[in-house]
């Protein structure tokens, strides 16, 4: 190996992931971190770490950190500088090893238009499209507007008709300019029933080149993948061969070095596939390929970067079983999958059944808008796809996660749909199949979990009692109201009233009974009308995260007393997610109509218009342009008009 110290120019789960393999290979690891990550796990995992006073995009600072620590190689992870050809050039110019493709390859593939041309030249089928936005009619609707420099769905718009085209192009340009500093966009045919299939490639500096089969990543929300698997249920050996060959043809033309991914769009109906783009980095979803091939992709990247030969050919690549990965995001599926922030009160991956968790967070981690809101990737590898899906769903359901809204319940629901199990996965899966966005709890289940929570709180109250701690819970020698707890779950109020019986069991208002077998500060083992709950419970302030049989339920403890004067402002426009006010279109005194866009909020590089809900006059503006706002923050107040004058 030509290097023994590796700097990881990234954060979170991918930094941890790279460190893990590097450590296995005996390589020292250097982490860089910004203030937001001062307590992060990957910093602790690294052998040494250097604080960045700017950001993970500050190439100069990163090179300085490498010099400071004697790192001889840099692994960029994904995102940030991973596909920044200039940075790769600087790294090599500094005499360091760049763990990735050559800067030339990165540059070529980074330009989507050039990449498409190269693919076409290499005999890889491409979708009809044009950089000339006048050619929309020729391409036909629906079509896609995409950022030339884009990726990850940013700066991408689906356009259903000619009427929407201009707005879509403008928005895409704006997002592209903001996100990539390059506002060029192009148009492309939109395949309605499409699957996203990608081929993993590995090339060494000596002409060695293999593909590791496909990954299907069709299930996406907001154009971002959330469920990925290998193999694809739609790809048979013949198709795999054809796609693999197409990918390696292109990679060969590029003399591709390191790990990369050639993305295709597969028309589900015809089985035809079209080149989309090449990702010149390690993909988020690489673990499913590792699972089915048994090849550690980070290890291969490091070996290739060190100049080693692959040492095996295509024939050596074997596929075994099925692997599925889900991306656990801090986001609210019920609210258009908008990012969520907050503190992870609970984050305890299930210890059984077995799954691979690539995660950069832990209980206590604060999720902010600073970075991508992915909390973890959970990967299961099983003999069959059906088993993998079931096990992964079970792993998700058995984990204790809360404090921040996540897509966990939604992911489990996706994995349990008959459509998913049947392999009927297209890019419109979420809209078409419409799995429940949140944990579908029956009123009865909710009631039972609220009872679990109430008895848990009761136990805590008794355990922490400064006096009379030995006396039975809520003991009375006269008539007194029942003991009770009130919870709020999604604006629904649940009251649990109970009484302690002489034998230590509890009786609820409806006469059903419960017995607490064991109370601990972080869990309760309780039997309620014969059903046993062994619930892990986490609490922070008024939030109680109760783990039930199918996942966690977050109950807000309704305080017994409310402070006077806590009223909601009516007519207020409230931020539905944390974000930045990029455009403030009104000021005090302005007359607005229902539906008018008053504020443009940017979150996760997407624009979200905040519209007036009724006609009225702006009476208060509480934010200014460029201001960062919290979820639920009051932005401005519109006093409704009494009608009459116009």
């Amino acid at each position: 190996m030509s290097f023994n110290t590796l700097l990881i120019a990234n954060r979170g789960e991918i930094a941890r992931r790279v460190i893990r393999t590097a450590h296995e290979m005996g390589i020292r690891c250097v982490a860089v971190y910004t203030d937001a990550d001062v307590d992060a796990g990957f910093v602790a995992d690294a052998d040494e770490s250097v604080r960045l006073s700017t950001s993970y995009l500050d190439g100069k600072a990163i090179l300085k950190a490498a010099r400071l620590t004697g790192a001889q190689a840099i692994h960029p992870g994904y995102g940030f500088l991973a596909e920044n050809a200039a940075f790769a050039t600087d790294v090599e110019a500094a005499g360091l090893t760049w763990v990735g493709p050559t800067p030339e390859t990165i540059a070529k593939m980074g330009d989507k238009l050039e990449a498409k041309a190269l693919a076409e030249a290499a005999g890889v089928p491409v979708l009809p499209g044009s950089i000339d936005t006048q050619h929309a009619d020729k391409i036909g609707y629906p079509l896609l507007v995409k950022a030339a420099a884009g990726g990850g769905g940013k700066g991408m718009r689906v356009v259903a008709s000619a009427a929407e085209l201009d707005d879509a192009i403008a928005a895409a340009k704006r997002e592209a300019a903001h996100g990539f500093g390059d506002d060029r966009v192009f148009l492309e045919r939109y395949v309605a029933r499409a699957r996203h299939i990608e081929i993993q490639i590995l090339g060494d500096a000596h002409g060695g080149l293999v593909h590791l089969g496909e990954r299907e990543c069709s299930i996406q929300r907001r154009h971002q993948k959330i469920v990925e698997e290998s193999p694809s249920p739609r790809v048979d050996a013949t198709l795999r061969e054809a796609m693999g060959q197409a990918a390696t043809r292109l990679a060969g033309a590029l003399a591709y070095r390191s790990a990369g991914t050639v993305e295709f769009l597969l028309d589900d109906e015809t089985g035809e596939f079209y080149f989309l783009e090449v990702n010149t980095r390690l993909q988020v979803e690489h673990p499913v390929t590792e699972a089915v091939t048994g090849i550690d992709l980070v290890r291969e990247q490091l070996r290739i970067a060190a100049g080693e030969k692959l040492g095996y050919g295509q024939d050596a690549i074997q596929f075994h079983g099925a692997a599925i990965e889900v991306r656990l995001y801090a986001e609210d599926p019920a609210n258009q999958f908008l990012p969520a922030i907050g503190t992870l009160i609970a984050f305890e991956p299930a210890t059984s059944p077995l799954a691979r968790w690539d995660s950069g967070v832990e209980a206590g981690t604060t999720v902010t808008t600073d970075f991508d809101p992915m909390l973890a990737k959970v990967i299961v590898h099983a003999e069959t796809r059906h088993e993998a899906a079931g096990r992964l769903a079970l792993v998700l359901e058995s984990s204790h996660i809360g404090g921040v809204v996540t897509n966990r319940d939604f992911l489990a629901a996706v994995l349990r749909t008959p459509e998913f199990l049947a392999g009927d996965t297209t890019t419109d899966f979420i809209e078409r199949v419409a799995p429940p966005r949140t944990l579908a709890l029956s009123a009865e289940e909710l009631e039972q979990l609220a009872r679990v929570a109430a008895l848990f709180l009761q136990g805590a109250n008794r355990a922490n009692a400064p006096v009379w701690g030995s006396a039975p819970s809520g003991w009375r020698n006269g008539r007194m109201p029942l003991q009770s707890s009130v919870f709020v779950w999604h604006e629904e109020k649940i009251t649990v009233a109970y009484r302690t019986l002489r034998d230590g069991s509890f009786r609820f208002a409806d006469a059903s009974q419960a017995r607490v077998h064991l109370w601990k500060p972080d869990s309760i083992d309780v039997e309620i009308t014969g059903r046993r709950f062994r619930s892990r419970i986490s609490r922070l302030g008024d939030s109680l995260i109760v783990h039930g049989p199918r996942g966690d339920v977050t109950l807000r403890i309704q305080p017994r007393f409310e402070l006077p004067g806590e009223e909601e402002v009516s007519g207020g426009l409230v931020a539905p997610m944390p974000g930045k006010v990029i455009e403030l279109r009104v000021s005090i005194g302005d007359r607005v109509r229902a539906g008018d866009t008053l504020i443009l909020l940017e979150a996760m590089k997407m624009e979200h218009p905040m519209n007036a809900t009724e006609d009225g006059v702006v009476t208060e503006v509480l934010v200014s342009q460029g201001e960062q706002v919290e979820n639920g923050a009051l932005l401005l107040v519109v006093e409704p008009e009494d009608g009459g004058d116009s």
Binding site: Q458, V467, W468, R476, N477, G478, M480
Partner: protein, 553 residues
């Protein structure tokens, strides 16, 4: 934990499969059911109509007010819940009294029940109120009152007479206004003794009642609900001709902004209770006595079995150790002088980890029993250990032999020791409590901290049969002196009537109804009640005395 008792657990010889046990248990359960029904009555207060009126005005029932003030899931020891039993007043007596935990602090809570005669100050309310103040003073715990009172009970006077018209209302009849108002004195005293008094005014608090907030350290008043004035608009009109209304005369806003009588202004009842909790939480409360000094292990013997120990026929002997073994930690009991004065069991144990010295009767008190008890009381005072008296006695032994042995002298020694003892006394009457033995065993009149009574217990100067018999002998003697024939038939009838009346008057419910104790408890709750009391008494230092009166030795 230090001070773990090394004594072994009590070995109970109680046969829980015997017919007697089953019989006792059934009788006890039957009595408990009667009490449960009375508790329902107490809760109903002034009845459904008055509760509805309260609800309509958005007001909370008194017990809900208390529950909201207490720490969630904490116990509440209600005192004299059946006050007014068998009187012309509602069971409960128109006020709720108890000890509860607010913000981790043990407090006396005295709350008017506005559904009962508008919370008027009836004789029962008065006696309960005095008891509340006494508990606060004796144990040094904050006094919290929820005031909503129409004031003096102008409609009825001296009316603690019984429903059945029995002429036992003498005490009430000599109750003159000139003697009233001691409550206010007591409240001021509490403040002087550094015992905070917190008053939440839920409604009217007029005339004399106005001094309740007047004499409290902290007043919480509720918007458009609290009304505190010396005289309401009608009386003001009568006295001076001035026209006024409740709000400007004595509303919460007026008192908070103008008169300064109200320290805290609450938006509504819940808000007032929030403020009440906040006030108590700032009291910087520090209990003087040490916390539990031993581990609180539950008894090894089953407390459920307490139901079957005592026979409704109190003549049947009971081994008090069977009671002790079912209420003390780990059933451990170190008996003192077990071979001497065997009718009065003395020894050490702990409840909830609090050490106690126990005196329990195994029947009548003999001279040597009394002597042993006097000795034991002194020992507990020497080492600052509270005393638990478990009463089941027919009195001091009588007869020539025992008079010769100095039963009066020995009994006086015991009374001297008990009277001058300064460690807290807690008394549980689980069987009979007759005669001077009641006093010697630290009865209510002997300044104990708490007295509780089991449902089937009886308390009187002597047993009904004895009284009836004594009276019959007197009549027989009179007849003999006058040389008149003795009407055996009439005597039998009179004897039966006297016995029945006496028995009826001596039952636990009567005593409890008259607020002569702190309430009837379910035998199975004895340990819990005592544990709470032993914690409460520790708000003040536990200091035994070294000074007594003259012991007649």
């Amino acid at each position: 934990m230090q001070n773990q008792l090394l004594a072994p657990p009590i070995q109970s010889k109680l046969d829980t499969r015997s017919a007697a046990f089953e019989e006792n248990r059934n009788a006890m359960l039957e009595k408990l059911e009667e009490i449960e029904n009375l508790l329902d009555e107490a809760e109903a207060g002034g009845g459904p109509a008055s509760h509805e009126r309260l609800a309509k005005r958005g007001k909370l029932p008194v017990r809900e007010r208390i529950a909201l003030a207490l720490d969630p899931d904490s116990p509440f020891l209600e005192i004299s819940s059946l006050a007014g039993y068998n009187s012309s007043y509602a069971v409960g007596g128109g006020a709720v009294l108890g000890i509860g935990v607010i913000a981790g602090i043990e407090c006396v809570i005295f709350a008017n029940d506005p559904t009962v005669l508008g919370g008027a100050l009836t004789p029962y309310v008065g006696k309960k109120w005095m008891r509340a103040l006494e508990i606060a003073r004796d144990n040094g715990i904050p006094y919290v009152s929820f005031v909503e009172s129409a004031g003096a009970d102008l409609r009825r006077r001296g009316s603690s007479e019984k429903k059945d018209g029995n002429a036992t209302a003498g005490a009430a009849r000599i109750d003159h206004f000139a003697e009233t108002g001691r409550f206010f004195y007591e409240m001021i005293e509490l403040s002087k003794l550094e015992i905070p008094t917190v008053c939440v005014v839920f409604g009217s608090s007029t005339a004399g009642g106005a001094y309740q907030p007047g004499m409290s350290d902290y007043n919480i008043m509720i918007r458009e609900q609290s009304k505190v004035f010396l005289a309401g608009p009608p009386l003001v009109k009568m006295a001076t001709g001035e026209e006024s209304d409740d709000e400007t005369l004595g509303g919460a806003q007026m008192h908070s902004e103008i008169s300064g009588l109200g320290e805290y202004f609450a938006e509504d009842e819940r808000d007032a209770l929030r403020l009440c909790r906040e006030v108590v939480s700032h009291l910087n409360w520090r209990k003087a006595g040490p916390g539990p000094t031993a581990a609180a292990a539950p008894p090894l013997l089953d407390p459920e079995e307490l139901l079957g120990i005592v026979s409704p026929d109190l003549k049947r002997p009971v081994d008090v150790r069977d009671v002790i073994g079912r209420i003390v930690d780990g059933s451990r009991f170190e008996e003192f002088k077990p071979r001497y004065g065997r009718t009065l069991i003395c020894g050490w144990a702990s409840i909830d980890g609090y050490p106690i010295g126990i005196l329990g009767n195994n029947g009548v008190i003999y001279p040597e029993s009394a002597e042993k008890a006097a000795h034991f009381v002194q020992l507990c005072n020497q080492i600052d250990v509270p005393l638990l008296f478990l009463q089941n006695l027919t009195g001091f032994i009588v007869g020539r032999e025992f008079e010769h042995a100095g039963i009066i002298k020995k009994g006086s020694q015991m009374l001297n020791a008990v009277t001058n003892s300064t460690v807290p006394h807690i008394t549980v009457i689980f069987g009979a409590s007759y005669g001077a033995g009641t006093y010697a065993m630290s009865g209510r009149a002997f300044n104990n901290r708490f007295t509780f009574i089991w449902p089937t217990a009886k308390i009187a100067v002597m047993g009904g049969k004895q009284i009836a018999g004594v009276m019959s002998l007197v009549r027989r003697g009179q007849a003999a002196r006058k040389g008149e024939p003795f009407d055996e038939e009439a005597d039998a009838m009179i004897r039966a009537a006297v016995e029945a009346a006496q028995e009826k008057g001596s039952v636990a419910l009567e005593a409890s109804g008259a607020i002569s104790d702190d309430g009837i408890i379910d035998p199975r709750d004895t340990r819990t009640v005592l544990g709470i009391c032993l914690s409460v008494v520790r708000n003040k230092p536990i200091e035994g005395t070294d000074g007594y009166g003259v012991f007649r030795l």
